[in-house]
Amino acid sequence: MYPDDRRYTREHEWAKREDGRVRVGITRFAAERLSDVVYIELPKVGTEVRAMEPFGVVESVKAASDLYAPVSGRVIEVNADLLAHPERLNQDPHGDAWMIVLEPASEAEWDQLLTAEAYAELVAAEGA
């Protein structure tokens, strides 16, 4: 269910290493909880984000939810397609509906992220 080619946060973001950069999105679990997404706010390219601090917001019909950066770094890419079509977040959260790509500030934070297995356990506990 949760791909093991990446790591996860307790706030339901995923982080995937790609040639030294880190692609970030939210998990299927989070996307399903946020059904009826209507608006997504993401930082501009060049913004510095800090690990486990909000970098953006997903607005669903019901509520606004913060997005947390898995690692610190500089935003080098933003998914403009997703901003234009926020409803796609519910369709492919682990793939096309990625949110930002970061140039990580350090390698040290990576090891604090959850493995797919640990994340699946967290979801199982929360979903119960």
Partner: protein
């Protein structure tokens, strides 16, 4: 923390895969599938809601009308048996105790249908003001489940179970003793969605039978179970107040767009003097509807700005599925309440442009 209460339909909601959330002390379905899908079903076909958390309070006896008239701002004096109305109940200050529907259910008996969060408070308030009158107050909420079937196909669905005559009830009229799936049901042509529809009060434990019968009768009409999420987006598009958000004890009917419910000419009622003074001096703030120019969503308690300063606060906001726009309600100073006025909603530190628009946001097409 007290345990959440559950309606008699709790098992049915669980079986249907509903996401259940705490609401006013109850564990209620927020949504079954998607809020938007349920919203669209109600606007285009029909939706079925469990609103058993709402309260029902009866006032009975020869003095009942006098008690009712003292408690409400609207005029129950000319209600026929089976007739009902929407009304605030006010404090002496003019602040709103609750907004309710009141039906004359028999010659000398009235039924208040009240908000879940205000039920205990209302029961005490009504009882207090019935003291000394020839009237008895009974809170029958625990014995009464309430369902709402709403949408353009609601009458067709109800007719299958209760006959054409019931389905032809005029708006804000009710009938008692209707049998649905063998269950004695009180049916009113009312709702909180902006669509045609009915509300059905049934004995608490019989609600699952009526619920199942409605779902079955409505299947061919596209009836969907709908949760509180859709109920909120539907009521907001229709411009209906949500007690606790848009109105409360610190706001008056004249500040909210409820002036039409205040009948100064009917005689004495609680809050009349304060409201008459407010009418004479003019209100200093008004609850207005606004459309956000962007897709960002206004949420309660966000500040409303204009001309470089704060002029009010948001009380309700959502993305309106039917209108495909971000809409909201909020109190603004009377000088910024005119339709067309440009405002800024402070959303996460940014002043997002919004425009005051006429209420309701949505009006159902009349055939």
């Amino acid at each position: 923390m007290n345990a959440l209460r559950r309606t008699s339909l709790y098992a049915a909601h669980r079986a249907a895969g509903a996401r259940l959330v705490p609401f006013a002390g109850w564990e209620m379905p927020l949504q079954y599938a998607s809020i938007v899908a349920e919203h669209v079903a109600v606007r285009t076909r029909a939706g079925l809601f469990d609103v058993s958390h709402m309260g029902e309070i009866r006032v009975e006896g020869p003095g009942a009308l006098a008690v009712v008239q003292r408690l409400i701002t609207n005029d129950a004096g000319r209600l026929p048996v089976g007739g009902g109305l929407y009304t605030p109940m006010c404090l002496p200050s003019g602040g709103i105790v609750d907004d309710v529907t009141v039906f004359r259910v028999a010659e000398d008996a009235y039924l208040f249908v009240v908000n879940a969060a205000r039920r205990e408070h209302d029961a005490a308030w009504i009882t207090e003001h019935a003291a000394g009158a020839a009237a008895v107050v009974r809170d029958v909420s625990d014995a009464t489940a309430l369902l709402a079937v709403q949408g353009p196909r609601a009458a067709t669905i109800l007719a299958r179970l209760a006959g054409d005559e019931v389905a032809a009830l005029p708006r804000f009229h009710a009938r008692d003793g209707v049998r649905i799936a063998g269950v004695p049901t009180w049916v009113s042509r009312t709702g909180y969605t902006g669509e045609d529809g009915f509300e059905l009060a049934v004995p608490w434990d019989d609600a699952p039978r009526v619920w199942a019968a409605l779902l079955e009768a409505g299947q061919s009409e596209g009836l969907m179970a709908a949760g509180l999420g859709a109920r909120d987006t539907l009521r907001l598009e229709a411009g209906y107040m949500l007690y606790g958000n848009d109105i409360d004890e610190t706001t008056t009917p004249l500040e909210a767009p409820l002036t039409w419910t205040v009948k100064f000419d009917k005689g004495e009622f609680i809050g009349r003097d304060a409201l008459a003074r407010q009418r004479a001096t003019g209100v200093t703030r008004r609850l207005v509807g606004f459309e956000v120019v962007d897709r960002a969503i206004a949420r309660p308690a966000q500040e409303i700005w204009a001309d470089g300063g704060r002029v009010g606060r948001v009380t309700s906001g959502t993305f309106a599925p039917t209108l495909q726009r971000s809409i909201g309600l909020g109190y603004v100073s009377a000088t910024h309440a005119a339709v067309g006025t440009m405002l800024q909603i402070q959303i996460r530190g940014v002043g997002v442009p919004a425009r005051v628009v006429r209420l309701p946001f949505y009006r159902r097409p009349t055939s």
